[in-house]
């Protein structure tokens, strides 16, 4: 499966001078492969990384990077004069064939050599003062093609007992077709009182950054909050920063498809969606 690599957002924390800075680390090497033997293929492809910004309803080329086999490439949000949560996407290709502007973002190439499992990824990093947290992430091409999708996630990973910690839920969407511009709404509610819900406006092709404390204020509840959408898919990422120690933590939450394994998992998913979304 091919994938885009979103450049994580930077985040300004209310009342704090330093910002959280997003970056990615790319390594030009298949992340999983069969061990080469006899005449099997060795990896020797140079690749090109097209960096695109979604702005004014089109994908605009910010730059192209070249990367030799087994070399690293680090791209920080600091390099670009853009807003903190604008969508920047890195597209990997085997040929330097990027156009300056796309209405429909060009598809990435795969650098896989065989059918080994685990998707191609990058290290998605968030840094604050001298600390950095990372996870291995990607945005699947198939998901970026969805005109209609859904979301079911929660904020229980938030650190609520430590007053020095700020928690952010980042809802990331990439829609490669820039004509999918419907404004979207996320429903938020306490699952124990799901009739009392509120809506939050969010956008496609954007990092929607929700501070969990503010969502709690909206619902007047400090308990777990559910976040759902019946029209658009997002990858949810929970980021915490401890302002006393500067320690960061990032992790994405499992989509509900991960709760089941087997041919009937989508039927069970439908039941779950019907209940909550």
């Amino acid at each position: 499966m091919r994938a885009y690599f979103p450049l994580p957002p930077s985040i300004k924390i209310e009342g704090v001078k330093d910002k959280i800075i997003g970056s990615i680390t790319f390594l030009n090497c298949p992340n999983n492969r069969l061990k080469p033997f006899l005449y099997s293929q060795s990896y020797k492809d140079k690749v090109y990384l097209g960096i695109y910004l979604f702005n004014q309803q089109t994908w605009n080329l910010l730059g192209i990077e070249e990367c030799n086999p087994f070399d690293f490439l680090e791209i920080s949000r600091n390099r670009f004069d853009v807003e903190d949560n604008q969508m920047i996407v890195v597209v990997v290709k085997k040929r330097n064939s990027f156009e300056k502007v796309y209405k429909n973002l060009t598809e990435p190439d795969s650098i896989k050599l065989d059918n080994s499992t685990v998707e191609q990824r990058v290290s998605m990093n968030f840094s604050f003062v001298k600390s950095t947290t990372s996870y291995q992430g990607e945005y699947p091409l198939g998901m970026s093609m969805l005109e209609k999708g859904s979301l079911f996630t929660f904020d229980t990973l938030k650190e609520s007992r430590n007053s020095s910690v700020r928690n952010f839920l980042i809802l990331m969407n990439i829609s490669r077709n820039s004509s999918f511009l419907n404004s979207e709404k996320i429903k938020i509610f306490n699952p124990e009182n799901k009739e009392k819900f509120k809506y939050i406006n969010v956008s496609r092709n954007y990092f929607n950054i929700l501070e969990t404390k503010k969502c709690e204020e909206i619902l007047d509840s400090k308990e777990t909050i559910f976040f759902t959408s019946k029209t658009c898919s997002f990858i949810p990422i929970m980021l915490s920063v401890n302002l006393k120690t500067n320690q960061l933590s990032v992790e994405h939450t499992h989509p509900p498809t991960e709760y089941f394994f087997g041919p009937q998992k989508f039927e069970f998913m439908q039941i779950l969606k019907k209940e909550w979304i």
Binding site: L27, P30, V118, S123, Q136, M238, S240, T245, Q247, S249
Partner: protein, 274 residues
């Protein structure tokens, strides 16, 4: 051609489709065929426990409550195994929450890193649920126990969370993960830095002993570790910058990486799947 392939596929019974798909990807399939054909159980990821953390929480999902749409009492069972793969102890916690944050406490004789499984038990079976919903779906799937482990490297620090990744351990402790005939090389897309120290922690959810070669790609040094079934081993990386690969017969061999491991007061602790 693709259309014809799809048509032919749709005419085949499910078991035959699974069989062909399995052998097409024989060297890459992380689970045994039998497990894919007989999916009526509950499986767990194989999670890592760190003895030196000040505290370790587990964020458990209550799938039955989520499906029902209302709180429901369940038992969250945790079974702990030593670094050698021996059974250590079982802990049970009761909760009716949709998501519960459970303090796992201390485990004796665990070694620096060890592993555990998580299973949910309830008087309310998924079959009862299907009857209540009056659906025609037969129960032919695994309930996956995934969850998140949250490591606190010190009393004052906040937690670093990591989701369950891989395991396939049946609730009767039958292992559905397998090793492959040919070796794989797995390279996390991560630049290790000499200014930090890392523990690469591997566990073995298969029924056989496995060996893993750890290749520091900017050095000629190769390190080997062997792990018993249900065991856990780690490799410490110091003063090294560059990429690292793991060579093994596991189709998916992804260490859990502890950056600047616990106990750690300095705020630069992190945990992530490689």
């Amino acid at each position: 051609m693709d259309m014809i392939k799809k048509e032919i596929k749709s005419l085949l019974p499910l078991k035959a489709r699974l069989f062909f798909s399995y052998f097409k990807n024989f060297n890459h399939n992380p689970y045994v065929l039998k497990a894919l054909q007989n999916q009526k159980s509950s499986i767990s990821d194989f999670f890592i426990f760190d003895r030196d953390c000040h505290r370790l929480y587990f964020l458990a999902e209550n799938l039955r409550a989520l499906l029902l749409g209302e709180k429901l009492n369940v038992k969250h069972n945790f079974i702990f195994f030593s670094s050698q793969g021996d059974f250590l102890e079982k802990k049970t916690f009761y909760s009716d929450e949709f998501f519960s944050k459970i303090n796992l406490g201390k485990i004796s004789n665990s070694g620096k890193y060890s592993s555990f499984t998580h299973f949910v038990e309830s008087d309310y079976d998924l079959k009862d649920f299907l009857n209540k919903k009056q659906t025609k779906i037969s129960l032919n799937l695994y309930e996956q126990n995934r969850g998140y482990t949250i490591f606190y490297p010190d009393q004052e620090s906040s937690g670093a969370a990591v989701h369950g990744n891989f395991g396939g351990i049946n609730k009767d402790l039958i292992m559905t993960a397998k090793s492959s005939l040919l070796s794989h090389i797995y390279t996390p897309i991560y630049k290790f830095n000499k200014d930090s120290m890392y523990d690469l922690v591997f566990n073995n959810p298969t029924s056989k002993k496995i060996s893993i070669k750890i290749l520091l790609n900017n050095s000629s040094k190769i390190n080997n570790i062997e792990i018993n079934s249900m065991g856990t081993r780690y490799f410490r990386v110091k003063n090294y910058t560059g990429s690292i690969s793991y060579e093994s017969k596991l189709p998916i061999c992804r260490a859990l990486i502890f950056k600047n491991p616990s106990p750690n007061l300095s705020g630069n602790f992190d945990v992530f799947h490689s």
